[in-house]
């Protein structure tokens, strides 16, 4: 109740929806400026140019060569099956919204940072802790409430972009498959839903880590403004920092080097060559446990004297 009865919360949801609408609008406007009526010719031209590239630079970056080869196969598939890859479907909007998960993360971090700290600032912590619930229970309840809020925002994100996409593009193209080149070198048709969920999934991992970190800072500082400031600071600076330090071996032990799991996707480079997906997941799990432990210790063991 405490989250949802504040006008601030609904303002956040409003901002999210506005941002999504804006993004979708821009997408639509952009594609309408380009003329795609001659897509078959476009595809054929693309294929030819890529084959030229492949032939010319045999010592080019192997990832780049792989990408060209895959694109050629995909283009061929499109031509064979008479599918226009430039058609916008509601899924196009949903997929792009996955990149707006950063916004969901920021909004949830603000709520998480306030969760414990605000109770101290308001003084209501005195009433909250003087009740038939152990401090551990209180903390757990707050954490779950924060996560439910994050889930709600993600749901809103997904549904709103789908809705906007449907409004702008109609419901055609819903059943269009998602095409990708599998490990066997053959083009596979997959489900668009699954693909969207996968993209959301990676965003959710970083969301989880940032929110848990914010929760811990909230328990540590007992001050709303400190908690929000530090959480956002780490979010914004952390990534840059690990990028700058990527020359050093030990950078792989930092949280921020591991938080973006999309670096392990096809065509992307991990921050340091020796890092793997398994390694990152392990690091993240370790950080998660440490964050929760620190938050728990600080919340349960300290006196409330003021």
């Amino acid at each position: 109740m405490k989250i949802y009865r504040r006008p601030r919360t609904w303002a956040m949801v409003g901002i999210l929806i506005l941002a999504l609408a804006l993004m979708s609008g821009v997408m639509k406007w952009d594609t309408s400026k380009r003329d795609h009526s001659d897509w078959k010719q476009d595809l054929t031209q693309q294929t030819v140019s890529m084959q030229n590239q492949l032939g010319k630079s045999s010592d080019a970056d192997p990832d780049q060569r792989k990408w060209w080869t895959e694109q050629i196969k995909l283009n061929q598939y499109y031509l064979d099956h008479d599918l226009n890859p430039n058609v916008m479907t509601p899924w196009s909007y949903v997929n792009t919204s996955a990149s707006l998960i950063i916004l969901v993360t920021i909004l949830t971090v603000i709520i998480a940072a306030d969760m414990i700290a605000a109770e101290f600032s308001w003084g209501t912590i005195k009433l909250l802790l003087v009740g038939p619930a152990s401090r551990t229970k209180v903390m757990l309840a707050k954490y779950i409430a924060t996560m439910i809020f994050a889930l709600l925002l993600l749901l809103v994100s997904f549904v709103v972009t789908f809705g906007i996409g449907a409004v702008l593009e109609g419901f055609n193209g819903l059943s269009l498959p998602h095409l990708a080149v599998g490990a066997d070198g053959v083009v596979h048709e997959g489900s668009m839903i699954v693909n969207s969920l996968q993209k959301y999934g990676y965003g959710v991992v970083s969301l989880l880590m940032y929110v848990t970190m914010a929760f811990m800072i909230s328990a540590a500082f007992r001050s709303s403004s400190m908690a929000i400031a530090f959480s956002l600071l780490f979010m914004l600076v952390g990534n840059t920092l690990s990028g700058i330090l990527s020359g050093y071996q030990w950078v792989k032990y930092l949280l921020f080097s591991n938080i973006d799991l999309t670096q392990y996707l096809e065509g992307a480079h991990p921050l340091r060559p020796e890092m793997t997906l398994g390694f990152s997941i392990g690091m993240l799990a370790a950080y998660y446990i440490v964050f929760q432990l620190i938050a728990w210790l600080l919340f349960t063991r300290r006196d409330v004297a003021a």
């Binding site: 109740m1 405490k2 009865r5 504040r6 308001w122 003084g123 209501t124 005195k126 009433l127 802790l129 003087v130 009740g131 038939p132 619930a133 152990s134 063991r301 006196d303 409330v304 004297a305």
Partner: protein
């Protein structure tokens, strides 16, 4: 003495090298309004915070209805309702929503009970307004409402008259009396306002520098040392001479327009006969108890600073 609803055993809080609460042990009987009295810094608030779990006890135990607060926090807290200093509520919620929020953590608090409590504290007209519009007196009452929702056996109020005007203080006193009568509650009040305590409490524990100095009942207490008779006469010097001759020079003293005789109430008829028999005009003669303030100052040696 009725069975003890709260027992303190060797409760100690050490900070650095000082024991700010030092081996407090006493019992609080059921059905009374019990006061913690002491100068500022005596350790009253710290003791209360330790009883309700806001501050950890360095040593000792607090046992509520046979349940130790340290061993079985959640069960012990079902017997306690407390307000520590001013009750801070969530300002952006209404009084009613606040009560609902706090009612949820107890099993068995029904909507009917919430309404009952609201009526008991006289808040029914303003209960659906946001708390930020409440006066201090109303917030105080809302705090008490929150504390008694689950029908605790023990209500603990720390400095409840802070910031209240005389009308507010009077109201609070009346509510507390009503609660002890109608709900069978035991109330612990801590304060340094002696005059207030005198009017509110049945029994007080006097605490100074973290140590227990005394526990004594207030009403009907035979303060033998302090018993005095105040005599108002027409001719002071003559009366003084007469009385000094009977009870001894040291027991008679002048105070303003009256004489004070250190003697018990039973001596009044005798003294009256003597004065009248000597032809003196007697305007008034009555027994006085030492006020709580006088007793308190004498016990604590007039020291207000820890």
């Amino acid at each position: 003495m009725a069975e003890a609803v709260l027992q303190l055993r060797n409760v100690t809080k050490t900070i650095g090298k000082r024991n700010i609460v030092d081996n407090l042990s006493f019992d609080i009987p059921a059905g009374e309004v019990f006061g913690f009295l002491g100068p500022n810094g005596a350790g009253k608030t710290t003791t209360i915070r330790m009883i309700v779990g806001l501050i950890s006890m360095t040593k000792g135990e607090a046992i509520v209805k046979g349940v130790s607060v340290r061993q079985n926090f959640e069960l012990a807290m079902t017997h306690i309702g407390a307000i520590v200093e001013n009750p801070e509520m969530y300002k952006f919620l209404t009084g009613y929503q606040n009560l609902v929020h706090f009612a949820r953590r107890h099993s068995g608090v029904t909507k009917a009970r919430i309404d009952e409590v609201v009526k008991l504290l006289g808040l029914q007209n303003r209960i659906h307004e946001k708390v930020k519009r409440y006066s201090l007196g109303m917030r105080q009452r809302l705090g008490v409402a929150q504390a008694i929702l689950h029908r605790p056996s023990l209500l603990i109020l720390d400095e409840p008259t802070n910031g209240l005007d005389p009308a507010g203080i009077r109201e609070l006193r009346d509510y507390l009396r009503k609660l002890t009568r109608e709900e069978g509650l035991t109330v612990i009040v801590s304060s340094h306002l002696l005059s207030e305590m005198e009017l509110m409490c049945d029994r007080v524990a006097i605490i100074q520098a973290g140590k227990l100095v005394d526990v004594r009942p207030l009403q009907g207490y035979k303060d033998e040392q302090g018993a005095k008779i105040v005599v108002e006469v027409g001719n002071l010097p003559a009366a003084r001479e007469l009385l000094a001759a009977v009870v001894g020079e040291s027991k008679v003293s002048e105070r303003g327009e009256t004489l004070e005789v250190a003697a018990d109430k039973s001596a009044i008829p005798e003294l009256t006969r003597m004065l009248v028999g000597a032809g003196l005009e007697v305007y008034g003669i009555h027994a006085v108890q030492r006020s709580l303030e006088e007793q308190f100052l004498e016990i604590t040696g007039g020291e207000m600073v820890v």
